[in-house]
Amino acid sequence: MTAPRFARPRTLDEALALLAADPEGWTPVHGGTDLLVRMRMGMAAPRGLLDLTGIPGFGDIRVEDGQVVIGAGATHAALAADERVRTHAPALARAAGLIGSPAIRNRGTLGGNLANASPAADTVPPLFVVGAEVALRGPDGVRWVPIEDFASGPGRTVRGATDLVVAVRFPAQGREVRSAFERLGTRKALAISKVSVAVAARVEADGTLREVRVALGAVAPTVIRARETEGVLEGAVWGGEVARAACDAVRREARPITDLRAGEAYRREMCGVLLERAVATIVDGSRS
């Protein structure tokens, strides 16, 4: 067991150049809150650590051309506190604020959460429902990948070996389209989600739901869209029959497993409970 070599590039280009020259030899690391744990457990053995914390502006958050653009290096603490994120993607701000503990939120980054591709990654369901895209930058420039196409399985993404995740963007939709996030963990802090649900929708004056998007975390190999549930909710007014039908649909759409954290049947059931709460948050919020 030899210690990995270490580089802390000062620019993004420098980082990309190192990676391009020896893609197998470098593993990006930002907060290290996933990678270091995996290394200790013997699940990762990088030959070199490419530390991204020295790149200026890598975590900047901007609004430009009607898009909110978040640098991959933005910490969860920054996301949770940022006014623009709170306005345009309240579900994302809330999810970021619930991750781990203060220490984890101060170190862990959006880019790391995405690249790590855990089905329970808390920032991902919110990004699904706001229609986010992920910017991958490699030697040939930047390509934007829809968030739904980014993770291909647990721990797997479409990121190429010479790519870095550099940013995430989604429409700055203001308070017009609202989003909400609910999650369930074993304890109040420092608990990986057993189930998480994000919902986004526009609520018309008469209560009709439009542009409904629902995403589920920790109930499938990747975060998934619940399209049948969206269909039930689209154009409907929340309550009674609609709520029941939506909960039934979401329970059908979830594909959970039983593990140490929760049973399959419980997870499925909770998708319904959390869906109700998330939609209720959106509907109640539209009234105030």
């Binding site: 369930l184 074993t186 109040k188 929760a262 399959e264 049947a265 419980y266 409970v273």
Partner: protein, 808 residues
């Protein structure tokens, strides 16, 4: 000289919220834990552990490992010069398992591994990495044996044997009255089955020792060791040397909770063997994964309770059958189950009580001492049961308990009359009822159950009585050495160890109280087995009463000699003299104090010049106890403490999540020695108790633990701990030299039933198996467990799951 009543009645320093003497060092990082220490020339020791939970070792080849880079020594069971077995009660645990012919004791063959945590070989190397690499070169041939994981199955005749002499570790019985007669009077009979989980101590600091060879064939060991004298006994026996050749000390300990006993003894023995074999200092540090795998846990219990209630609502008969999972080795099981059998029926009057508690060997991780020591399990059962009976009787659970709890002069199920101290449980319950507004809330929350609600409130109570110290388990005496320096500063050393619980502050405060000096004049030295007499283990919440009483005894001896000199200097009779706040003066019976110009420091200097002995060894022997093995009758403990907990919770009807919002604890622990320390004990004890009730289970499947670190074994975080209200009912007890008793474990033993009873108040559903996880609360069972506890066949999570959402 004995401490007069004067000392007991008017303490000047006891009860004050003195900051702990080790606090600053711990927060600044100055405190040195064992792993912070290194010896010149030290090598690293590591352990090869078993590959099967139960197997015979048919071959063991260490030759290749011996030749590996950096390796200094590889040891197996054959290399043990003395007794290869250790064990506080039954010597059944091999320091290393070996091949046939490596030795063995009666009924405990050495050529077997009985749990995954067992050690098979030791490697010492120049670096830790070299040592660990060499482990991979050791070849062990195993012949797997059938595994038994359910203690109830282990007691059946057809069960595989974990030890050849049989799987029954111990059987305690209490035979008080005749339940057959008692049940005849029963108007209602309740039969309930309860189960409690195996849990991990979760001390922050994993196990660590450094052993150094010393002349004459002995060793010196420093480590994170709770019970230094037990460790010394084992190390001497394993090396085959007399006790005075083995010196055991502890560095600053990062928590223990009963957990750094046997596992540390084994580690110390292994390090000592390596130190003798290599002639060099040896350091061993468990990773967290090794710690979780190897260390013993709290016993899982299966408890069958049967209680009869007469027409007036009084308990008229109780019959209890309890089985504890001892895991692979006996460890403290005989004593843990002793406490269970004594306290199983709770603090309630009942004329006919028969209790059986058995502990059985299995191939699970072994179980031993953990804060509470056999009480959290039985308290959970009896407190849930009594709560249910109360509700059935149409009474709130607090009022019902106040009707049936022990009062002065009542007789316990072991036939012991509670006398000589205040039996204050009714007072304790009254206080907690007032503080929490229990009765009113309980009825309100119960009424609210009728209407649908997304979130439901509930309030629950639990109470206990607890025997102080070891009781009839064993010899109960302790030593503290007090030395006054010529400048009036004081050094206290004790046979009682501080593992983070605050013993050093409490024991030092007892000495300071009697000497009359401020606490900051006292330095407390870590325990050293070669410099203080064997004081027994620091367990059973006995530190403050035993170590503190011995400190008071030592201080009183020194003070008496000093007052003789003071009398001479001040021209006053000794009986008028008082020392307080470092000043010598005169005092009256009403507690008045008039200081003179003579300071304690000057007096100490003068005593020194006159050749007065300024040091004394204090000794405290507990009052007598007794036990009749066949009937389980006798004076089980020399005195008791009393406590109650109330929990207020909010249950999420949709998810089953329980939030504990508010928590009340009221304890009568005799005289409070240090209010801050006492409150700290309560906060910590409750937090641990909530983990027991709501979160924790160290799950083991076919002998293989499922969790190996704190990412999967979840204990409460600060965010899960409720607002706490702590009160003390102080009835100084003549059993303690300064009126003090015990607190550490009482704080931890009833939080779980208080919470579970609160959940019942909120939902109307009784949970009889903890932890009350989200799934347990919502649907009454856990889906994550593929098998039920032990080796029962998996029922599987995919089976029908009827859960309800909001309207549930």
């Amino acid at each position: 000289m004995m401490i007069g009543e004067k000392d007991k009645d008017r303490p000047w320093l006891l009860g004050r919220p003195e900051p702990r003497v080790d606090g600053l060092g711990k927060v600044t990082g100055e405190a040195r834990f064992t792993d912070d220490l290194d010896e010149v020339g030290q090598v690293w020791g590591v352990v090869l552990r078993a590959a099967h939970p139960h197997a015979r070792i048919v071959s063991l080849d260490v030759e290749e490992a011996r030749l590996a880079p950096g390796v200094v020594a590889v040891l197996t069971a054959r290399d043990i010069p003395g007794n290869p077995f250790v064990g506080g009660v039954v010597q059944d645990q091999p320091v290393l398992a070996g091949t046939a012919g490596a030795g063995g004791g009666a009924g405990h063959d050495l050529d077997r591994v009985r749990m995954l945590g067992d050690g098979v070989a030791l490697v010492a190397a120049e670096t830790e990495a070299q040592a660990r690499d060499a482990l991979g070169l050791i070849r062990v041939g195993y012949e797997p044996l059938p595994v038994v994981t359910d203690p109830r199955e282990a007691l059946r005749p057809e069960s595989p044997l974990v030890h050849d002499r049989g799987n029954l570790v111990v059987h305690h019985g209490v035979r008080h009255g005749d339940p057959a007669v008692g049940f005849e009077y029963a108007h209602r009979v309740y039969e309930r089955a309860y189960a409690t989980p195996r849990i991990e101590h979760a001390y922050l600091e994993p196990e660590c020792v450094i052993a150094r060879p010393v002349e004459g064939g002995g060793v010196e060991v420093v480590g994170s060791i709770q019970n230094l004298f037990s460790t010394r006994r084992a190390v001497a026996s394993v090396l085959g040397v007399p006790l005075n050749r083995v010196r055991i000390r502890h560095a600053v300990l990062g928590g223990s909770f009963g957990g750094k006993d046997d596992v540390m003894t084994v580690m110390a023995c292994r390090a000592a063997l390596l130190a003798r074999a290599t002639g060099r200092p040896v350091k061993m540090v468990n990773t967290r994964e090794e710690s979780m795998l190897e260390s013993y846990k709290r016993h899982p219990y299966f408890l069958d309770y049967r209680a009869g209630v007469d027409r007036d609502g009084n308990l008229c008969a109780m019959r209890m059958d309890i089985v504890a999972d001892a895991g692979a080795y006996a460890s403290m099981s005989p004593f843990v189950t002793y406490r269970s059998v004594v306290q199983a029926a709770g603090p309630y009057r009942c004329p006919h009580v028969w209790t059986d508690v058995r502990a059985a060997y299995t191939n699970n991780p072994y179980t031993g001492a953990m804060r509470g020591f056999g009480s959290p399990q039985v308290n959970f059962a009896i407190e849930c049961l009594v709560d249910e009976i109360a509700e059935d009787q149409g009474l709130d659970p607090l009022t019902y308990r106040r009707r049936i709890v022990f009062r002065d002069g009542d007789v316990t199920p072991t036939g012991q009359r509670l006398a000589g101290h205040r039996v204050s449980l009714d007072e304790v319950l009254a206080r907690i009822g007032d503080a929490s507004g229990f009765v009113d809330k309980w009825w309100r929350y119960r009424a609210a159950r009728e209407a649908p609600a997304a979130f439901r409130r509930g309030i629950g109570v639990a109470c206990s009585y607890r025997g102080v110290s070891l009781g009839a388990e064993g010899v109960d005496a302790a030593a503290t050495f007090v030395q006054v320096q010529p400048d009036g500063s004081v050094i206290v050393s004790s046979g009682v160890t501080d593992m983070g619980q605050g013993a050093q502050t409490a024991v030092a405060q007892c000495a300071a109280e009697v000497l009359g000096v401020p606490l900051d004049r006292v330095v407390f030295l870590n325990t050293d087995t070669s410099r203080i007499p064997d004081s027994g283990p620091t367990v059973a919440s006995r530190g403050t009463i035993m170590g503190g009483s011995a400190a008071a005894d030592a201080a009183a001896q020194v003070r008496a000699r000093m007052l003789e000199v003071a009398a001479d200097l001040l021209g006053q009779p000794v009986k008028n003299l008082v020392i307080r706040e470092g000043l010598v003066g005169t005092g009256g019976a009403e507690g008045s104090f008039v200081p003179s110009r003579l300071t304690f420091a000057d007096l100490a200097g003068e005593c020194f010049r006159r050749g007065v002995a300024l040091a004394a060894l204090g000794w405290f022997r507990a009052p007598p106890t007794s036990w009749h093995e066949e009937t389980g009758q006798g004076i089980a403990y020399f005195t008791y403490v009393y406590g109650a907990n109330v929990a207020e919770v909010v249950v999420d009807s949709g998810t089953g999540r329980v939030r504990v919002e508010e928590f009340w604890s009221v304890h009568d622990c005799g005289r409070v020695v240090n209010r801050l320390g006492a409150e700290g004990q309560v906060h910590g004890g409750v937090a641990m108790g909530l983990g027991y009730g709501l979160l924790e289970e160290f799950e083991v499947e076919q002998g293989v633990p499922k969790a190996s670190n704190f990412d999967e074994y979840l204990i409460p975080t600060a965010m899960d701990v409720p607002r706490m209200h702590v009160e003390f009912v102080e009835n100084p007890d003549p059993a303690g030299r300064l009126g003090q008793k015990s607190l550490g474990e009482p704080t931890n033993e009833i939080a779980a039933p208080a919470v579970v009873n609160a959940i019942a108040n909120a939902t109307g559903r009784r949970i009889r198996e903890i932890p009350a996880t989200l799934e347990q609360v919502l649907i009454g069972r856990r889906l994550t467990r593929s098998g039920l506890r032990g080796s029962e066949v998996a029922r599987g999570g995919e089976a029908s799951c009827k859960v309800r959402g909001e309207e549930g």
